[in-house]
């Protein structure tokens, strides 16, 4: 095997290189030559091509994402210990605790290989959280699929769900929530987003950088293999074509081993506790290429890596392959020489392979050698932080006006006598149906900190067993709303996640996102993206909570058809005492009144009703009122603090009807409901800023007085009836809970069992 060294590159300046196959454009390749003053070696080409990919460099989104930091005020930043640009955002939640959380997409691998794609998606985000110095505590998974009854959904969904569960369960992380959404646009491009939340003491925060000349660079965890090499394999076939016996490449989707990751987590936490880590970086997308260049770029010196020391699990791997392998369950640490023995001892205790692969050097070059020959010599910042930046063309789609003009106003409405049946039909429709078939494959109990999980409005975990301080998390997005108006759609996602968090009694404090869009080369998609970023950032300013990090996933499309713009928003809330959390199910106390907080208007653009009954998408989404959301949140938290609320459930997709069905079925108790004149609008409108609450009769006056005093509209809509086993809607009749349960819980098992 001959290896393309720097010396070789200098003496063969005109050698053809497969940069196009690696995804680099002509001008990008020219820039690399310009930076290096020569042609890149194979290893350099591999490193630049993966690091300058859309996934790693954010080259199409960077100019827009800047808007998040530009709009974040000092006041919003007050509780933020780390933000955009770090592995994950970190927030101070009080009592000396710092919380780190982030979401990431693993969409394309999950379509190709559902189980491993989803599993390694979980594994990757967990390592991001670990790399901040935190113990990972819980995961959530917002998932989106093609139509529930489509044959390919039957292939993709069970595999993805089993992958999320298989990896997360084995890691010992409770899965506390997420989403399962079906829409035709996701048929050839499912979305697998994974969120992880972790906690640490404020003083234990670790940031990824390699400082201190002479410090050692240690690679630890799994061996490096040929999995997840993707496009870089063309380098091998181009350069080392051995027609007699071409090596069979492993799939470009990585293969995960959660057991190795569990051990790696415990090993890292012990290393952190011993305070023998100067800097740490996880190996995710772009593997060692990413970890070494990012560590070196963020540090104050250079770095020398002896690539031949990397433990391999395949023979004959080239330097380019080793650098770009995405083998899972690996971490890279920077350690002071005097701590090396202690570091190795901890790794040995956990049977984790650890290898000193290099050191921090003087100067500002990242140099990688392969058996004493230099195969890579680059300024690391040009790889990791100074990649190409594109101002892609943006154009509002030509048919956007027509889409918005096609309002649902003309759609035939159900007759009065059809309404009860419609409640049941809607509850059984795939997007509104119970997701139990999915969530019962996830361990929600492990570690003993889970206070709320699916189907609660937000997941909640206890962080401190002494003080009972905890956090709540919700992720949301309605892609149909975002299609109709991406600016409003992103704000609606934010509003819903914010509302979900406050509905459980927690105070929202920070935001993360996972922005899933079509091709950035399509000006219409870039317009959606730009609008969504602006909407989300402006919304955060209005609510006074910062975006602490996020993820962008482009190229989610099948042929020329993009997915619905899907800016998934995650909101983190803090609750000083988890024992006062507000549950979702009614009936916990004898004698409860049902109150509807907020106002209902006839808003059906992008609604679940228009989708299920008419297959219609047009008009404008419901109006956003973030000031109202804020007020609503304050009232809910105050109600929880003073013990005035026995249950609460957010109104969103499917409107009041769906909220009533869920709150009865979860609480296993009936209710009698009396509504106002326009029963159809009352039941199915998706107006925002609304929450259904159950109030013990003894607290009713005190609570409604508070709402009135603070200017929050409220209305009595019914009573909980512990004697009844039906949901009764006055003037319409009664739906037995058993019948509703069969409708709500029967859909997914019928499709996927």
């Amino acid at each position: 095997m001959t290896v393309d060294t720097v010396k070789n590159a200098e003496s063969t300046p005109d050698q053809e290189q497969p940069y196009k196959e690696l995804g680099l454009k002509d001008d990008e390749y020219a820039r690399i030559k310009d930076i290096l003053g020569r042609r890149p070696t194979d290893a350099e080409l591999a490193m630049y091509s993966v690091m300058w990919s859309e996934h790693c460099s954010y080259k199409s989104s960077k100019v827009h994402l800047k808007y998040f930091s530009d709009t974040t005020t000092d006041e919003m930043r007050e509780k933020m210990l780390a933000g955009i640009g770090e592995n994950a955002g970190v927030v101070d939640i009080g009592d000396g605790w710092a919380i780190t959380f982030k979401a990431e997409s693993h969409n394309h691998p999950s379509y190709v290989e559902p189980y491993q794609g989803a599993a390694t998606g979980v594994g990757g985000i967990v390592r991001d959280i670990l790399a901040m110095g935190a113990r990972p505590l819980a995961v959530m998974d917002p998932l989106r699929f093609g139509p529930a009854d489509a044959p390919d959904t039957r292939r993709v969904l069970p595999g993805i769900v089993a992958g999320v569960g298989g990896y997360g369960n084995c890691l010992g992380l409770p899965n506390i929530g997420g989403e399962v959404v079906f829409d035709a646009t996701y048929a050839g491009n499912p979305l697998v987003n994974a969120l992880c939340v972790g906690a640490m003491r404020v003083e234990d925060l670790h940031l990824a950088h390699a400082s201190g000349t002479g410090n050692k660079v240690i690679l630890f965890g799994a061996r490096t293999g040929l999995d997840g090499i993707g496009g870089v394999s063309v380098l091998a076939s181009e350069t080392f074509d051995d027609s007699a016996g071409k090596r069979k490449k492993l799939p470009s989707v990585q293969v995960g081993d959660p057991f190795t990751e569990k051990v790696l987590i415990e090993c890292c936490l012990e290393l952190f506790a011993e305070r023998i880590v100067v800097g740490i970086q996880d190996l995710g997308g772009a593997g060692l290429a990413c970890a070494t260049s990012e560590l070196a770029s963020a540090g104050d010196g250079g770095m020398h890596v002896y690539l031949d020391r990397v433990p391999l699990r395949a023979t004959g791997m080239t330097p380019a392959e080793i650098l770009s392998s995405e083998s899972q369950e690996r971490m890279c640490a920077v350690v002071r020489p005097e701590d090396l023995d202690a570091f190795m001892a901890v790794c040995a205790k956990w049977d984790v392979i650890a290898t000193e692969i290099g050191e921090v050097t003087e100067g500002d070059r990242l140099v990688i050698t392969w058996h004493d020959e230099v195969v890579l010599d680059v300024p690391p910042r040009t790889v990791a932080h100074e990649g190409p930046v594109y101002n892609r063309p943006i154009e509002r789609p030509a048919d956007q006006d027509a889409l918005q003009a096609d309002t649902p106003d003309g759609l035939p409405k159900p007759a009065r006598e059809e309404l009860l049946d419609l409640v049941k039909t809607m509850a059984a429709s795939p997007n509104l149906a119970s997701k139990r078939w999915v969530t019962q494959q996830y361990d929600r109990y492990v570690r003993g900190g889970t206070v709320l999980s699916q189907p609660a409005d937000s997941g909640m975990i206890r962080i401190d067993e002494t003080t009972n301080r905890g956090v709540a998390l919700s992720t949301d997005c309605n892609g149909r709303y975002a299609k109709l108006d991406p600016y409003a759609g992103a704000q609606l996602a934010l509003a819903e996640a914010y509302r979900n968090v406050s509905t459980t009694g927690a105070t929202p404090v920070a935001v993360t996102n996972c922005l899933n869009f079509g091709s950035p080369e399509d000006p219409a998609v870039m317009w959606q993206f730009e609008q969504a970023v602006k909407g989300l950032a402006d919304g955060c300013v209005e609510l006074g909570i910062p975006v602490t990090g996020g993820n962008v996933s482009f190229y989610n499309q099948t042929g020329a058809t993009a997915i619905l713009p899907t800016p998934v928003v995650g909101v983190l809330g803090v609750i000083d005492d988890v024992r006062r959390r507000i549950p979702t199910g009614i009936g916990a106390e004898a004698g409860e009144t049902l109150l509807l907080l907020g106002e209902t208007h006839a808003e059906f653009g992008g609604s679940e009703w228009a989708h299920v009954v008419h297959g219609h998408l047009g008009g404008l989404p419901p109006k956003v009122d973030l000031q109202r959301e804020k007020l609503l949140g304050e009232v809910l938290v105050a109600g929880s603090r003073d013990g005035m609320l026995s249950a609460a459930h957010d109104l969103s997709d499917g409107g009041l009807a769906q909220a009533l069905v869920e709150t009865c079925l979860i609480g296993e108790v009936g209710a009698r409901v009396f509504l106002e004149a326009d029963l159809f609008t009352e039941l199915f409108s998706e107006s925002t800023g609304r929450v259904l609450v159950a109030v013990p009769r003894t607290e009713e006056l005190r609570f409604t007085d508070m709402c009135t005093a603070r200017g929050l509209p409220w209305r009595k809509v019914g009573v909980v009836d512990p004697e009844s086993d039906a949901l009764e809607v006055q003037e319409l009749g009664s739906l037995p809970l058993a019948e509703l349960r069969e409708a709500w819980e029967g859909t997914l098992p019928a499709l996927f069992d």
Binding site: C170, G172, Q440, Y445, V446, R462, E465, V578
Partner: protein, 223 residues
């Protein structure tokens, strides 16, 4: 009283088992898989998780861990031992309990709140319950189907060594709806559901599981 909680690589519910011991008034003592040392404990819990990644077969590698040799010896002398989920699988592999656990009949991992009927309150771990009582605790496992040959089942049933039985729909295809069993002397108990996750209604479905840890404290105090 000191209760050892073993950690193997891949053990997950050790923190929960230790917490449950504390709730019941005992002192949890960490035991490491690689040590030949039970640190003078009065009882041992083999907690749930995926020891050694479930490689080969659930529990098949863990049974050879140095600490398990000590557990087997101590159990033979009458020390109370509780195996939960993967711990139950390990106790079966170590032949402290008969039978084996196989893949759930519907193949999926199942996490749900499960009603159990207490069938034997004469063990070291169940004296706080009434026979026939029903308790609600989490079940979370992919390989929880209890299997044994007919003569073993007959023996278990005949000697009253079935400790817990699933109520309602059988969640994993276990023979005779068996959720947990005990050794002939009633000192070793293994079960698939997780009593340590039902010690506080804040984080579990109920606090029904606490009875097992309180029973242990009683039994050791009496002994």
């Amino acid at each position: 009283m000191r209760v050892g909680v073993i950690t193997f690589p891949g053990t997950l519910d050790d923190v929960d088992a230790a917490r449950a011991v504390g709730y019941a008034g005992g002192e949890a003592v960490k035991l490491w898989h690689a040590d030949h040392d039970l640190k003078d404990v009065d009882a041992v819990i083999v907690p749930g998780g995926f020891s050694y990644g479930d490689y080969l077969r659930c529990g098949a590698i863990a049974r050879f861990a140095p600490v398990m040799q000590e557990v087997v010896d101590a159990a033979k002398k009458g020390m109370p031992v509780l195996g939960i989920c993967n711990g139950f699988q390990i106790l079966c592999e170590a032949h402290l309990l008969p039978g084996a656990l196989i893949r759930n009949h519907k193949l999926h991992f199942v996490c749900r709140d499960q009603w159990l009927k207490v069938e034997n309150n004469a063990t070291a771990w169940t004296s706080r319950y009434d026979n026939g009582a029903e308790i609600l605790v989490p079940l979370k496992s992919g390989e929880g189907g209890y299997q044994a040959d007919q003569s073993t089942l007959d023996e278990l049933e005949g000697e009253g060594r079935v400790v817990f039985r699933y109520v309602g729909e059988n969640p994993n295809g276990s023979r005779n709806d068996i959720a947990g069993i005990t050794s002939a002397n009633g000192r070793v108990v293994g079960l698939m559901p997780h009593p340590e996750h039902a010690i506080d209604a804040l984080t579990g479905p109920t606090d029904d599981g606490l009875g097992m840890f309180l029973s242990l404290v009683d039994s050791v105090v009496k002994a």
